[in-house]
């Protein structure tokens, strides 16, 4: 079967009827980023190919898959299709189409039509309509889908699971239905053993021993049956856990991302709570704000006040110096005047100290005698006149001196600052400084630092709140991408994963113990049977039944060995085929060799990667594992082609998420050369939301870009729409 075209109409984010994909014989890549609609494409195909659910169940679920955008745009009374169609080649051109018609009947009420599941076959001569369900069952049944369609890297291991090997062998090994033969011959051996046991107990010679063996065998058989039943039940539980875990692991990336975001959110919320508490702790109470806040200005006012005081003191000092200088100048002027005065009185010579004073002068005039030079000075004489004039001058001089003296006294009494205000202000400034200032400054500092803390913490809180909003937005976006699930569901899934792993581990341990016990019982059963077969019966019939039992036993054992040989041959062929692909897909890297092993106890097979020297590679990288699984799938695909003369497509959703950029291009070009139809849905070749177009151009395959249309609302699914664009045609 080769898929030629897929049309998706109004299936979830694939709004409208223009979502068409064409496919060639080789590789087609569908590239898109997270949430762009990659998995929706895969699930649309699964929805089309689902023939296991009844029409009624599918009808009931149709609305869940109907495009939210289309739904929101439907007017009451208007209808739209929910439809997926696949055209393919399988013994000629064929197509299947599944469709529901959705009609809006009310604001929140939609009517879903009955399913239309149509098939069409082109025989070359005519075009026949058929039932889509039957056509899928014939051309691409569930088993074939199991080996063709892979969602995520974890689903690539086709040998994983309890029935996987059986299904693979039944489908592709040379010999089918070996299990039926093994079961039949084993039952025959049991029956023959019982018949022989019955006869040997009738035989007198062997009766005693046979009864002992028979009792033990009956007991062992019951115990073995019980243990097997228990193992089967426990294995079913483990399998259901595995299935559930696989489903949960499908969204592992999303869950990891959610956990990371939820962790960040919790941290940020706790940070916000702590910041709020810190802000609340700063007591901006009434006492502090109403009574003390005014004090905040005190230190600066006091400082300004002290500056002013100092300025005034300096000014006062300056004025005082200026005053002293001016007074000195005035004093000098007075002295000069005095000297000038004296000079004038004494012919420029001041009278010596011994010059007679006012009273003595008057006496000399009165007695008409100069007692200085002891000569007579009669009235009218020159000497007399001289003395009279001198007396007058003297008087004038005395009068002037008195005036100057008074001036001097006046000058000496003159003061610049008659009040003590500046000193008082300075004293006040000094008084306010020191302990009081320190006390008030302490209050001010306290208030300031509290206000500063509140301001800083408030800024931080606002930043954290913004970050919380961003994280919450990212979480809602993630939940929409994960299928619009609620956060509770996501949390429940998380807790389920942990619980399931724990429970699964416990049950596996229990199974292991039971298996050990079973081995012991089986060994003892074989031992007792052998002893029974080695008895030497006395009668003919007992001997005959003994021979028949031994024959059935040998046939049963040979059937089991043949089945195992067939299985080993098949696994060997598969391994060789896979290793050829491993070489091709990983030419540049170390890739090891595929080794397939078979666990007889559980009849399960496993895959291991080994080095060419036989060393088991315990922890292969995810990309090595992916290449290994894909190699096996290609080998299985070869088997399928050989068996059915038909090719089958291999469709991978996010199978290569562990590949680095460098590996992508080589890998895809090699897959394209393998000449098998592969449809790979991937986010490879996208960096930072943009397609690395240069790298895409180097590919030789057809490439589609699927992308969410711009302008969607993070929290509204009805705004999300996937756009499909072919960005590279096949070379």
């Amino acid at each position: 079967m080769i898929i030629r075209r897929i049309e998706i109409e109004n299936f979830r984010s694939y709004y409208g009827n223009e979502n068409n994909f064409e496919f060639g014989d080789g590789l087609t890549l569908l590239i898109g980023d997270n949430g762009d609609g990659k998995t929706t494409f895969f699930e649309a195909l699964q929805w089309l190919l689902d023939i296991s659910n009844t029409d009624e169940v599918q009808k009931n679920r149709a609305l869940d898959n109907f495009s939210e955008m289309r739904k929101s745009k439907l007017e009451i009374g208007e209808s739209a299709n929910l439809r997926v169609k696949m055209e393919f080649e399988h013994d000629g051109r064929k197509s299947v189409e599944k469709m529901f018609i959705i009609t809006r009947k009310g604001e929140d009420y939609f009517d879903v039509s009955d399913i239309k599941f149509k098939g069409k076959e082109d025989t070359g001569e005519e075009r026949l309509s058929s039932d889509g369900r039957r056509l899928i069952a014939r051309c691409f049944d569930a088993e074939m889908q199991h080996f063709s369609m892979f969602k995520g890297e974890s689903r690539l291991d086709v040998l994983d699971g309890p029935k996987a090997l059986k299904m693979l062998v039944e489908k592709y090994s040379d010999i089918k239905y070996f299990d039926d033969l093994v079961m039949l011959t084993s039952n025959f051996e049991s029956k023959a053993q019982k018949a022989y046991s019955r006869e040997s107990q009738n035989d007198e010679k062997t009766r005693g021993q046979a009864q002992v063996y028979d009792r033990e065998l009956t007991k062992l058989s019951g115990e073995i049956q019980e243990i097997r039943k228990e193992i089967k039940e426990l294995s079913t539980t483990v399998n259901s856990y595995e299935t559930m875990l696989k489903d949960l692991e499908q969204n592992e990336d999303t869950r990891d991302r959610y956990n990371e975001l939820a962790g960040n959110l919790a941290t940020k919320k706790s940070e916000a709570t702590s910041l709020k508490a810190s802000i609340d702790e700063v007591k901006l109470n009434r006492n502090l704000l109403d009574q003390y806040w005014i004090m905040c200005a005190f230190p600066s006012i006091l400082s300004a006040f002290k500056d002013k005081c100092a300025q005034l003191s300096r000014e006062k000092e300056r004025l005082r110096e200026e005053f002293i200088f001016e007074r000195g100048k005035e004093q000098g002027e007075l002295n000069r005047l005095k000297q000038e005065n004296e000079a004038l009185l004494n012919d420029e010579v001041q009278l010596p100290w011994y010059v007679p004073d006012d009273r003595y002068m008057k006496e000399m005039i009165k007695v008409h005698r100069c007692k200085v030079c002891n000569t007579p000075a009669p009235e009218g004489s020159d000497a007399y006149n001289f003395m009279v004039n001198k007396l007058e001058e003297y008087k004038k001089h005395i009068s002037e001196r008195t005036r100057i003296k008074e001036e001097q006294i006046k000058l000496s009494k003159k003061q610049l600052f008659t009040e003590e205000y500046i000193d008082e202000i300075n004293a006040l400034a000094n008084r306010l400084s020191g302990p009081e200032e320190a006390f008030i400054a302490g209050i001010a500092n306290d208030i300031n630092s509290r206000l500063e803390v509140v301001s800083r913490k408030s800024e931080e809180l606002s930043r954290v709140k913004k970050e919380i909003e961003e994280i919450e937005e990212n979480i809602s976006r993630l939940l929409i991408q994960a299928g619009n699930i609620s956060e509770e569901t996501m949390k429940k899934n998380n807790s389920d994963v942990h619980n399931m792993y724990r429970k699964k581990g416990e049950i596996e341990k229990e199974i292991k113990n039971l298996e050990d016990e079973l081995k012991e019982k089986l060994a003892r059963q074989a031992e007792v049977k052998e002893k029974m077969d080695n008895l030497n019966p006395g009668n003919y019939l007992s001997r005959l039944y003994q021979k028949v039992h031994i024959a059935f036993d040998q046939i049963a054992k040979a059937s089991m060995r043949a089945k195992e040989n067939n299985l080993n041959n098949f696994l060997n062929d598969l391994k060789n085929g896979a290793n050829l692909y491993m070489d091709r897909l990983s030419t540049k890297d170390f890739h090891g060799k595929v080794n397939l092993f078979y666990k007889k106890d559980t009849e399960e097979a496993g895959i291991r990667l080994i080095s060419s020297n036989g060393t088991y590679i315990k922890k292969p990288s995810d990309s090595q594992k992916t290449v290994m699984y894909i190699s096996i799938l290609f080998a299985v695909s070869d088997f399928a082609q050989k068996k059915t003369d038909e090719q089958y497509p291999l469709i991978f959703d996010a199978a290569t998420s562990s590949f680095g950029d460098a590996k992508e291009e080589d890998f895809y070009n090699i897959i394209n050369d393998v000449k098998k139809q592969c449809i790979v849905i991937t986010k490879d070749f996208i960096t930072g939301g943009k397609v690395r177009i240069n790298d895409v151009d180097k590919l030789s395959c057809r490439v589609y870009r699927i992308k969410k249309a711009e302008g969607f609302n993070n929290s509204d699914l009805s705004t999300v729409r996937t756009l499909v664009k072919e960005i590279k045609t096949e070379d």
Binding site: D174, K191, A195, L544, Q554
Partner: protein, 80 residues
């Protein structure tokens, strides 16, 4: 018809795979030449060869388990 053909070929392969088991050959003392086809094995004088062939034929013809057992059991009783 095509399905039946593939079905028979498949059971021939089963028959061959079981009868070529070395331990069974050693126990039952027969040669690989006795098992060239289902028909040939069914007619074999060797009890084990014909028993295995009868079981496989019974399977291929979708006979009941009881029916196959009784047939093979009788066969072995006669031949052993």
């Amino acid at each position: 018809m095509a399905r039946n053909k593939r079905y028979n070929e498949n059971y021939n392969k089963i028959l061959e795979a079981v009868l070529l088991d070395e331990k069974l050959m050693e126990y039952a003392q027969y040669e690989p030449s006795e098992i060239s086809s289902l028909e040939y094995a069914l007619g074999s004088k060797n009890a084990i060869v014909s028993a295995v062939a009868t079981i496989v034929e019974g399977l291929s013809e979708e006979m009941s388990e009881k029916e196959i057992y009784n047939t093979v059991n009788d066969l072995l009783k006669k031949k052993l």
